[in-house]
């Protein structure tokens, strides 16, 4: 065991501050098991050194990885499904009526993790429109190369597909590959994955009709939140739609967005003239 009491307490406080989840004493083992892959991906030998590294050089992305690793077992597909319902009920019909038949819709999943979000979008679109694979392009980005590679591979474990993916969609869009499930080639063709750090100047992409930027802003301070929203808006079409996490908003952060309620969810649209 490499985790000192001080390091464990620091992790507990971090997780409690960011997620309100309490890690009971005695969960050192869990912290070790969940954080070791992050340490390894950063080239560090153990969790103790990961904690030391993040404490001395705080980074919102590392913080996000640590909190996510400790607060979620597996990313769920349609849990908090309202932003996806909004896509097919409102956003897509509105976009399709305003775009020519040859225009390709551009959708950005801006913190795609292991790929559940971009493939959820791809499945919904393929089920909703016959020519989705030629009408829509989905850009999936994440800071972590490992997550980008997982998204590209489009392979999910049994435990992952058990998390909020409707069984009908599982059998329609996946095939079993040994103990895993492989996303269909047509969905994989719709999704292009690449590395991208939202806290730095963004590469040339878009312009996007729809952006999913969920559960990212909560990890950043106000100036960085403002900078990210400004950079994202620069890559969006003027009539585009932005979806944030359920606990996130542009209100009080960046007043160049208009909040639109769609069903049980909210979207944000660039205000004209900003």
């Amino acid at each position: 065991m490499t985790l000192t009491t001080t390091s464990f307490d620091w992790v507990r406080q971090l997780v409690h501050r960011e997620s309100a989840i309490v890690l009971a004493p005695g969960k050192e083992y869990l912290v070790e098991a969940r954080l070791l892959p992050i340490a390894r991906s950063m080239g560090l030998p153990d969790v103790g050194q990961l904690v030391d590294s993040v404490r001395t050089r705080p980074s919102p992305e590392s913080t996000r990885r640590i909190v996510e690793a400790l607060t979620t077992n597996e990313t769920s597909w349609f849990r908090d499904g309202d932003p996806f319902t909004a896509l097919t009920s409102t956003v897509l019909p509105s976009l399709l009526s305003g775009r020519g038949p040859a225009e390709r819709l551009q959708i950005w999943s801006a913190a795609c993790s292991s790929g559940q979000e971009p493939y959820t979008i791809a499945m919904l679109l393929e089920d909703a429109m016959p020519n989705a694979s030629t009408r829509v392009a989905i850009t999936a980005t994440d800071l972590s190369r490992e997550m980008v590679e997982r998204t590209r591979a489009g392979r999910f474990s049994q435990l992952e597909v058990n998390r909020g993916l409707p069984a009908a969609m599982l059998v329609r869009h996946f095939t079993r590959a040994g103990t895993e499930w492989q996303v269909s080639p047509s969905l994989r063709r719709m999704v292009t994955a690449s590395e991208c750090n939202l806290a730095a100047p963004l590469p040339r992409m878009g312009p996007f009709d729809v952006v999913y930027l969920r559960n990212v802003l909560i990890y950043f301070d106000l100036p960085t939140k403002q900078a990210i929203l400004r950079r994202v808006r620069a890559l969006m079409r003027p009539d585009g739609w932005l979806f944030l996490g359920a606990a996130e908003t542009t209100l009080g952060v960046d007043d160049s967005w208009e909040r639109v309620v769609i069903g049980r969810s909210s979207a944000y649209r660039p205000l004209k003239g900003n």
Binding site: S76, F78, Q158, N162, G164, P166, A167, R176
Partner: protein, 127 residues
């Protein structure tokens, strides 16, 4: 909301029941499909059945077909909870009339997610 938990393993019945009770369900249990049909015929009217596939006397797939053949039970939501996980079997269960399919092993979170998809989480129904 009420659930009937159908599994030949007592341990699995306890695990599924305690997860469902945690979400606010009242539960009853049956050890195989025939026993579950008897419970329904007695007049117990659950909102949800969780159904194992391989059981003695009457298996889960036969139970699903029997429930679907009776219009009186049309409102019942049927969710397979089984270690059977060949793609073809999931297709067969859905074709027979199961609404959802949870593959064992599962976590309580996975059950909760599936119930949320079905709009079958009591706490959400209250909202």
């Amino acid at each position: 909301m009420r659930a009937l938990v159908i599994d030949d393993s007592r341990a699995m019945r306890r695990i599924v029941s305690s997860a469902l009770e945690g979400f606010g369900y009242e539960t009853r249990q049956a050890g195989h499909g025939r026993e579950a049909l008897d419970v329904l015929q007695e007049g117990y009217a659950p909102d949800l059945c969780t159904i194992d596939w391989n059981m003695p006397v009457m298996d889960g797939l036969q139970f699903v077909s029997a429930v679907r053949a009776n219009p009186a039970w049309r409102a019942l939501t049927l969710m397979m909870v089984t270690s059977e996980s060949e793609q073809g079997q999931i297709v067969r269960a859905l074709a027979a009339g199961a609404h959802e399919y949870v593959i064992k092993p599962f976590t309580a979170d996975a059950l909760r997610d599936k119930l949320a998809l079905l709009g079958m989480l009591p706490e959400e129904a209250v909202l």
